[in-house]
Point group: C2
């Protein structure tokens, strides 16, 4: 309050002001003063001075000394996607409730970038790292390992560190079954009427494709390879795949499974180029939940992955004494069309 001094107060400043030594000031301000048998009155005095001068600890100095920083990292593939940004939101809340500081960064789905970003985080002595949706979790693991950094994989599993991921197989089964049943309400469905778009060479895609194919085979009797169109995680490539199908067939498949909301954006790009009416009767399943995606002008079944539960589980794992490289599955939920779920935003204060 009172001081207009440009520089922030340090324990040395308070040490002079209070007449106590710097170590006493430090002990008082970091809470270890009872253990160090500082008189209550001394502590009070110092705390008052600290308040008066708006003292806050220099966390770099503390981190340097204690080789802990209070920073917890979350490595994301990308930010601008409801699944990951909502995960970031939950992550922040949980980290802050533990008195630490969240550090959310993206690796842009690039293995080199991922490793480099993690190197940077390590240079800041972060205490723990959540690796979400990493292209190369084991590569990142090695970097962490070398630095002795506790870490856990989220969303995409590694073989070397504990992982918490969606039950992609089960989720894909639920979703596939839901869209098949819905499509069959409009008449019999042939195997050629059911496609899958999106996904690439990662664990999640494999499991989803496996779930899709298993259910499709069981319910429709066949499962031709041509119906699987892996397009990567890119709206542009996905749009191209829809366009290609459309050129070949003059329509879209009656029913299809879209591997993620990013791929669903590819569908939007396709739709933007074609009249609405042509596609009024498609049935879509999307392996991700988006509140607006759920209300598109055709039925969209969605899978909501429980990012919050994954983060919670991740912390539980990091808190445990032993951390074997086991993969934990978190069950996602099927979201029928036209559903508006609540999210982490709803926990915020509503100020009119």
């Amino acid at each position: 309050m009172a001081d207009i001094s440009k520089k922030k107060a340090t324990i040395y400043d308070l040490s002079i002001l209070s007449g106590a030594s710097a170590s006493t000031v430090s002990a008082v301000l970091n809470g270890s003063w009872r253990k160090r048998r500082i008189k209550e009155a001394t502590a009070q005095l110092i705390q008052n001075l600290a308040n008066e001068h708006g003292y806050t600890a220099n966390l770099q100095a503390r981190g340097l000394r204690s080789s802990r920083s209070g920073l917890v990292g979350l490595l994301l593939p990308v930010h601008d996607n409801r699944y990951f940004s909502s995960m970031a939101q939950s992550f922040e809340a949980q980290v802050r409730s533990r008195g630490q500081c969240p550090l959310v960064v993206s690796g842009c789905r690039d293995p080199d970038e991922e490793r480099q970003v993690v190197e940077t985080l390590i240079s800041y002595s972060i205490d723990e790292l959540f690796i979400a949706g990493a292209t190369d979790p084991d590569g990142v693991h090695k970097v962490c390992e070398k630095a002795g950094l506790k870490h856990v994989n989220i969303d995409l599993p590694g073989t070397l560190a504990p992982s918490v991921i969606s039950d992609n197989y089960e989720g894909a089964r639920m979703l596939t079954q839901a869209i098949i049943e819905r499509a069959q309400e409009d008449g019999p469905l042939s195997p050629d009427d059911l496609y899958l778009f999106g996904g690439r060479n990662d664990h999640a895609s494999h499991e989803r494709i496996r779930g899709f194919r298993d259910v499709k085979r069981a319910l429709l009797g066949a499962d031709p390879d041509v119906c699987i169109q892996p397009t990567g995680y890119s709206p542009a490539m996905t749009a191209r795949a829809f366009e290609a199908f459309y050129e070949g067939h003059g329509k879209l498949p009656r029913t299809f499974f879209v591997n993620s909301s990013i791929n669903l954006e590819g569908l939007m790009r396709f739709l933007a180029l074609h009249p609405h009416e042509t596609f009024a009767d498609i049935i879509v399943g999307c392996y991700d939940y988006d509140p607006f995606g759920s209300f598109l002008p055709f039925p969209v079944f969605m899978i909501r992955q429980d990012g919050e539960a994954m983060i919670t589980k991740g912390f539980a794992i990091l808190d445990a004494d032993r951390r074997p490289p086991i993969t934990h599955l978190v069950r996602p939920t099927l979201v029928p069309p036209r559903t508006a779920l609540t999210g982490p935003l709803d926990a915020l204060k509503d100020i009119g």
Copy 2:
């Protein structure tokens, strides 16, 4: 590579290995070695050793000494929203291209939380701060000021620091005009047919409401107060407002302006509770762009705010010598219904 040592190498380790002093090692590794007249051969030797041992600087130590951390902060209201998460994505890219480390955190639209989060960031000696959508920019400003931290407001302006914001008035005018014209295609529009939902007591809302009212009065001749329904930035409250209107009128307004995509989520919650067909003829304007929101089963005009341009402008301001508290406007664009725009994701590598 070769070393299995648990601890990270320091300049002292390299100093011993190379036979040079720690200060020489430091100079070599931070690039200042030419200035310090270190022999090229010595530099080479040390650099090789550094590579061999995977040396990376301890950035906390560097930050402590130089009172610069290489961290650049972005304070966001929330993550899980396309506008802000896409801003985070652009921010990250720009910060990294400048060789610094992005630190994205949310303040949850709570003035106290915002200030406290910034205090934390300051404790990590961040170099610069982007304050986006802060509830209380001037409060945050004072905290920064006291710490001598360069900062700029984004999206919501303050009076004490330079600001870069959307031209909300112009955007609102464009949007209002677009939905009025579109609605009039279906027949004459009375002032009671055009509402505004969402927004609260902040600069952006004021400007948008002003733009809305000005255009409405000009085109429809009147502008009753009852048509303005500020519901805060909360899906739940917005849904309640729609519900209330519906109870009173047995329908929604023919046309309405929704203040943000967060409020648009409130509309989704309302729609989820009512049969689709009832609302097939509404015309909506949303002051925010969302790729799925654009394809809802009724016309949705959207405003895309140029987050990337704002960040760029923000850096330009921070780089300038003088930083008067001027507000810079960035023009948003009107997005007609059924439009899929590209975003920062498209800059990423597409790996199939």
